[in-house]
């Protein structure tokens, strides 16, 4: 019972991280393109589109992150302790990025003179790049098996080939998510020029993801071969296969301008990417050191976590569905224009 529930909670945690990577990824990606949009007329229009598409849902994404953290410290206290004792440098940077990003996204809408506006744009854009890198680096560091290893300093645990590889993959993955969703938004507004603009960006991002992703596999092979082995065996291999088939498929669809399924597939690719790591690593939370049932909280805590989650999913599921429905129908856009 205890062990089963521990797996349920671990699965919820992985789900929260995955959801953050996909939903938050779209958001961060939009921020990256915002940074790269340039200051000319077309860049300005791209940036306006980005604003419009991010507006209603962006703050909901942060919640996934809080959930993952809270599930971690309540459900697996010792994991939380080791991870934060080792990786606090990464989290600190990611955090600062996160604050700046959220705050400056809100503030740039009210900055009245162009200079303030531009500063806000830059801060928002740069922190959109930095934040996912450092979050993903922490996953890479965990996967590398350095967290909690005796005699490994915080800096050595935080910075390794694998953590850097994970960080770079995250930039490409978020850029891809952002670009495909922006195509969708541009199409909804029938802005043909912007559709083309983000079509190019999608192709660039997909290419980069394939190249960098292959590099990351090499980094895993060098640093932690066991992980690569279990990624190549059932069940993780299914998820890996999804990533490898779907990513080029998205690029192909967008290249041929067959604008159907490309967003769902992007979410599937990015989600599977994260989930593949999680599944391949299980039953270990810290590879070679700490398994899910070793780290599990007492039964009572697990039951409460599961029950609360269950109840809330019943409430939140429909309401988030409603929000997304309204968002996609454009119903939430202010009428004033």
């Amino acid at each position: 019972m205890n062990v089963t529930l521990a797996y349920v909670i671990a699965a919820m945690m992985l789900l929260a991280v995955t959801a953050y990577s996909t939903a938050g990824g779209v958001d961060f990606g939009a921020g990256i393109w915002d940074l790269l949009a340039g200051r000319d007329e077309r860049g300005r229009r791209a940036r306006e589109l980005i604003d419009r598409s991010m507006a209603p849902v962006w703050e909901v994404n942060n919640v996934w992150l809080v959930l993952a953290i809270v599930l971690c410290w309540t459900g697996f206290p010792t994991l939380f302790e080791s991870v934060f004792l080792s990786l606090y440098p990464l989290f600190s940077v990611a955090l600062i990025g996160l604050i700046l990003r959220g705050a400056f996204f809100a503030f740039r809408h009210v900055a009245e003179n162009p200079r303030d506006h531009q500063i806000a744009d830059y801060v928002f854009g740069i922190s959109s790049v930095v934040t996912p890198i450092f979050f993903a680096m922490s996953l890479g560091a965990i996967a590398s098996g350095r967290v909690g290893a005796p005699g490994v300093s915080a800096w050595d645990a935080s910075v390794s080939p694998m953590s850097i590889a994970f960080g770079l993959v995250s930039v490409c993955a978020t850029a891809l998510s952002g670009a495909t969703f922006l195509i969708g938004d541009a199409r909804r507004e029938q802005a043909a020029e912007l559709v083309e603009y983000f079509r190019t960006k999608t192709l660039i991002a997909a290419g980069a993801l394939i190249v960098v992703g292959t590099g990351a596999l090499a980094a895993i092979a060098v640093e932690r071969r066991e992980l690569l082995t279990s990624m190549a065996s059932f069940p993780a291999v299914l998820l890996v296969a999804v990533v490898m088939i779907v990513t080029p498929a998205v690029a192909f669809l967008v290249w041929r301008r067959w604008f159907a399924w490309y967003r769902v597939l992007t979410v599937a690719a990015v989600g599977s990417l994260v989930a593949a790591w999680g599944v391949a690593q299980s039953p270990y939370l810290l590879p070679g050191r700490l398994t899910i049932d070793q780290a599990a909280a007492p039964l009572g805590t697990e039951v409460l976590l599961t029950v609360v989650a269950g109840v809330v999913v019943l409430v939140i599921g429909p309401s988030i569905g409603f929000l997304l429905y309204l968002d996609q129908k454009s119903a939430l856009e202010p009428q004033g224009s």
Binding site: V63, V66, V70, F80, H109, E112, G300, S319, L326
Partner: protein, 450 residues
């Protein structure tokens, strides 16, 4: 950590209570078909949005900071301490979704639907507050955990969630946030009154929040008193620090102001003979436990005691001042059926907003500093909970956060001022247009239009 928590707590009153005020206003507007009330509700909802954005970010930071600063505490007690946060996490989720719907639904949903969907916000906010307070109460009066022979922890979920301190902390704090939000919002319109604005808009926007806050002030007085008295049983060392009582004795005086030194002498301050004993046990012969009865490593030191004591006095003093203002307000309201018209009333009301925030902050200092040196009262000292990251790193982090937070505060305030100026201009221009997303923090169209 203390700094960020102290900052985040400032956002809580508006974060949790502003939706309620906004909904009350929207309700009034709908019930009376009062367009002005709807306009006010709408403008408040804009502030609510910005506020939520800032709160969401600082809240996320907090959850990480627990890990960055106190990993060992979470590692040891996460399974019990974290329960409240697990609830808060989900409540926050719900709030985020419904705030988005509420903000963006103004023009798109039917007024009734919009209002009804908004009704989810206050309970969601309260549920979140409940979770956080459950966690904080657990730090003050830990319960529901038993150590097994093998060193593992056994958790009784209900006992860990509903600890002794939660009963009073929850009511004390929940009332405090409504009180603060009410006074803070009202104080802005008190300033408007002082500047000569005396129309229906000003009366509504001042009267509604002020009356809500004023009605709560006496309740808070009673709840606060009960909380302090409960502390004499639950956390006697904190109580001793609050009253800077050194020696355990009967006929203990109540010292107002004043400082204690490390050998227990009280300097300055006004001592009211036996009052503390009377307040605690309703009789001068009540024995009150002093600081000296605790081992030196289990009680707040002199500096911490003084900080606890002075912030406690400040909280009580400001609370009492609010009570006087409340009496004034209701006396006029009941006898003359209108709002007070005295210049001094509005001057004081304008200060009440800042005062209320100061009160919340000093209450928080009282409870947190008064618990020192414990992070979990009687079970874990702060020193055993902290990370082994180098002090240089922590100071650098603190410095960075300080700068970033200052920047956020600066932008937040400029933004509010800007919005208020814009709204004033709109009103002066006699524009009947209820703005459509203009100035909304996440609303897109601003750039193209202006």
């Amino acid at each position: 950590m203390a700094f960020t928590l102290g900052y985040h707590i400032l956002l809580v009153p508006l974060g949790v209570a502003l939706p309620t005020l906004t909904l009350v206003m929207e309700g009034i507007g709908l019930a009376r078909k009062d367009g002005v009330a709807l306009l006010i509700a709408r403008r408040w909802s804009v502030v609510m949005g910005v506020q939520f954005a800032v709160g969401a970010v600082t809240g996320t930071i907090l959850s990480f900071e627990f890990g960055i600063l106190w990993p060992r505490m979470l590692g040891r007690f996460g399974a019990a301490f974290g329960l409240g946060f697990a609830i808060e996490g989900w409540a926050f989720f719900l709030e985020a979704i419904f705030i988005s719907i509420y903000l963006y639904g103004w023009n798109r949903l039917r007024p009734r639907t919009h209002f009804l969907l908004g009704l989810v916000l206050p309970p969601a906010g309260l549920l979140g507050a409940f979770g956080v307070l459950a966690a904080n109460s657990w730090m003050n009066t830990p319960g529901g955990v038993t150590m097994q022979p093998n060193g593992a922890l056994d958790v009784d979920v209900w006992a860990a969630l509903f600890t002794k301190a939660l009963t009073y902390e929850f009511w004390h704090f929940t009332i405090a946030i409504y009180l603060t939000a009410g006074f803070a919002v009202a104080s802005i319109y008190a300033v408007a009154w002082l500047r000569g604005r005396r129309d229906h808009y000003q009366r509504l926007a001042f009267g509604v929040p002020f009356t809500i806050a004023a009605a709560l002030a006496p309740v808070q007085w009673v709840v606060g008193d009960l909380s302090a008295r409960a502390l004499t049983f639950d956390q006697p060392a904190k109580f001793a620090a609050m009253e800077i009582t050194w020696r355990t004795r009967s006929n203990n005086p109540e010292v107002i102001g004043g400082l204690i030194d490390s050998s227990g002498n009280v300097h300055l301050g006004i001592a009211v003979p036996s009052l503390d004993s009377i307040l605690v046990g309703l009789s001068p012969s009540t024995v009150v436990r002093g600081l000296s009865s605790f081992a030196e490593n289990s009680r707040p030191d002199a500096i911490e005691s003084n900080l606890t004591h002075l912030s406690f006095d400040l909280m009580v003093g400001l609370g009492s001042a609010a009570l006087l203002l409340t009496v004034w307000h209701f006396a006029v309201l009941i006898r003359r059926r209108r709002l007070p018209q005295s210049l001094w009333f509005y001057r004081l009301a304008a200060l009440a907003g800042v005062g209320a925030y100061l009160t919340v902050e000093s209450g928080w200092v009282t409870t947190e500093v008064g618990r020192q040196p414990w992070i979990v009262y009687g079970a874990m000292r702060v020193a055993d909970a902290v990370t082994d990251a180098s002090p240089v790193f922590l100071w650098a982090m603190l410095g960075t956060l300080f700068v970033v937070y200052a920047a956020i505060a600066f932008f937040f305030i400029t933004l509010l001022l800007k919005l208020s100026r814009r709204w004033r201009q709109e009103d002066e221009a006699g524009s009947t247009e209820v703005f459509g997303g203009r100035g909304l923090p996440y609303a897109p169209r601003t750039r193209g239009v202006e």
